[in-house]
């Protein structure tokens, strides 16, 4: 597969991931912060503060999980490489 096609695929995957994350985040924070009473069309102070905090926490969790995941997958990759080298020499 040529590198341009690979880059395109990676970019598409990234866009899909971001869109999915946005949808999930909107759903989760709306469920958590906006109680279904709807007496007023505008967000009250408490609700907007809650939404700010919810989004910040969600993005931070997403970032940390991503880092942890790449760390673990790197470890797995190294282990696999060592095993392959071991079977290659014997």
């Amino acid at each position: 597969m040529d590198p341009l096609r690979a880059q395109q695929l990676a970019a598409e995957l990234e866009v899909d991931m971001m869109a999915d994350m946005y949808n999930r985040m909107t759903q989760a924070c709306h469920r958590k912060c906006v109680p279904p009473h709807y007496k007023d069309a505008e967000l009250s102070k408490g609700e907007s503060v809650c939404l700010d905090r919810c989004v910040a926490k969600y993005l931070e969790v997403h970032e940390r999980m991503g880092k942890k995941l790449t760390e673990l997958s790197l470890q797995d990759e190294e282990l696999l490489k060592r095993m392959q080298q071991g079977t290659g020499t014997t």
Partner: protein, 134 residues
């Protein structure tokens, strides 16, 4: 950005202060008209007070009530906004808590018992107003 400034606690407190000042002034002038004790002369108890005396009394009463209402309004609005920002929710408990804080702060100057009574009274008043408004 203007909306963010308008949603801030400081702006809300300032708005409540100005509103309280106006309302207190009107209330004070009105009360001066009802509960008058101006221009009483022990030598001539049936003397009608002059317009100047009446107006001066109305003005003094109005300013005094206006200042009190402005301070109470600003305190209540500020504490309610801070409590709401801390909790991250907007329900009836915010007004009750901030009513207790405001009433307690006002009453505490006259002793601990007055502070507790002030807290309870103002909290109940806030809860009633909140119940009516929601």
């Amino acid at each position: 950005m203007v909306e963010r400034a308008m949603e801030s606690c400081a702006f809300k407190a300032a708005l409540a202060c100005v509103g309280g000042f106006v309302l207190g002034g009107a209330f004070g002038v009105f009360t001066a008209g009802i509960d008058t004790n101006v221009g009483f002369d022990p030598k001539d108890p049936y003397r009608t007070p002059t317009a100047k005396e009446v107006l001066k009394d109305m003005g003094q009463r109005g300013i005094s009530y206006a200042k009190n209402f402005a301070i109470v309004g600003a305190m209540f609005s500020c504490t309610e906004c801070v409590v709401e920002s801390y909790r991250g929710k907007s329900d009836w408990k915010n007004s009750v808590i901030s009513g207790c804080i405001t009433g307690g702060a006002i009453g505490f100057r006259a002793g601990l018992k007055a502070g507790v009574i002030g807290c309870g009274g103002f909290a109940a008043f806030s809860a009633a107003i909140d119940y009516y408004l929601r």
